[in-house]
Structure formats: structure tokens, C-alpha cells
Subunit: 99 residues, 2 copies
């Protein structure tokens, strides 16, 4: 599986608009084949920092996500909202162990 | 390295108190030897769901964290605040690739 984790930063004045745009994209993404986990979350200590957490079945599923209509809409929103400091990493992982 | 990812749920009426208790613990944890990443973040779509994101240099560093005084304080807060639905996984990972 592929695990993606990291952050982006949204200008604080654009947070409300970013929440709306992200919500639509998140729900559409969760319905994609091969999407096992997909969430955005707001850092507890640093307003505007959004944590992104994804798990995909395989590379093909992730590639399909990248080509989806909802991601095209989201990329436009990302530009318009000034989302920056993109810091995401992708890891190949097994099932993981419950902690 | 060890990557920990997942969620807990805080009763919405206890979110403000949980933010305060978590903030102190997060800052103390980030100062620990071997802590490479440590953040809590609030789910964008599901109020009360907290995403936890950790990266540790090795098992020894994570074990030291578990024995720390600030984690003992946090565990008491977790009980008192009714934190539940703990769903965390631990993965052995390499450096990961920038996405």
C-alpha cells in the first residue's frame, strides 16, 4: 500500500473557503476505487497548517486519483486560495500494526 | 524509522480542554531525543476526531516517549476527557519520497 502524510499551509484568511473546497474533494476522493484512507485535518497548534493523510491500495489507484475531475477542481482552488508550503511524503507500507 | 498515524475521538464538549492538555504534551514531546515529527490535528469534516502524526528515529526513542512524565499527565487527561475510539497504527518506514 502507499501511505501519504504531510502538510500544506492555507493563508488564515482563506481557511473557511479552503474548508468548503476541500470537503467536496475529500468526499469524492473517498468514493474512488482503491482509496483506503483520505483525510484533511487542521493542526492543533499552528492555524492554517493542514495535515493530509492518505492510504491507497496501489500506484494505479493513486494515479487514477491524480487524473480525477475533482482533483482538477481542487488544484484550481489550491492556486486561487494561495495554498503553499506543500510538504508531503509518500511511503510504501505494509498493513501496519495496531498501536 | 517508525511512523505512527491514526485518530482518536474527543467528545465535542471537551475539545477546548483537550486542546490545552494536548498542546503542553505536544511541545514537550517535540523536544524529546529521537522525535522527528509529532502533531495533532482536527479533522476537517468530523468534529472531535483528532489525527495523530508521529515519526520516531527508532524503537528506543518511542519507548522513552512512553515513559515520559508529560505522557503520564496526558494519559490522565485522556481518561478524564473521555477520549475514545483510539485507532492508531505503527509502520516501519524508510525516508519516504517527496510527493
Amino acid at each position: 500500500m502507499l501511505l501519504i502524510a504531510g502538510t500544506v499551509r492555507v493563508p488564515v484568511e482563506n481557511l473557511a473557503a479552503a474548508r468548503d473546497a476541500a470537503a467536496a474533494m475529500i468526499l469524492a476522493t473517498r468514493a474512488e476505487d482503491g482509496c483506503l484512507q483520505y483525510a484533511f485535518a487542521e493542526d492543533l497548534l499552528d492555524p492554517g497548517v493542514i495535515h493530509i493523510s492518505e492510504v491507497w491500495r496501489d500506484k494505479g489507484a493513486l494515479e487514477g486519483h491524480g487524473k480525477s475531475a475533482h482533483m482538477a477542481v481542487w488544484r484550481t482552488a489550491v492556486r486561487e486560495l494561495g495554498v503553499r508550503e506543500r510538504n508531503l511524503k509518500i511511503y510504501e507500507v505494509g498493513e501496519g500494526q495496531p498501536l
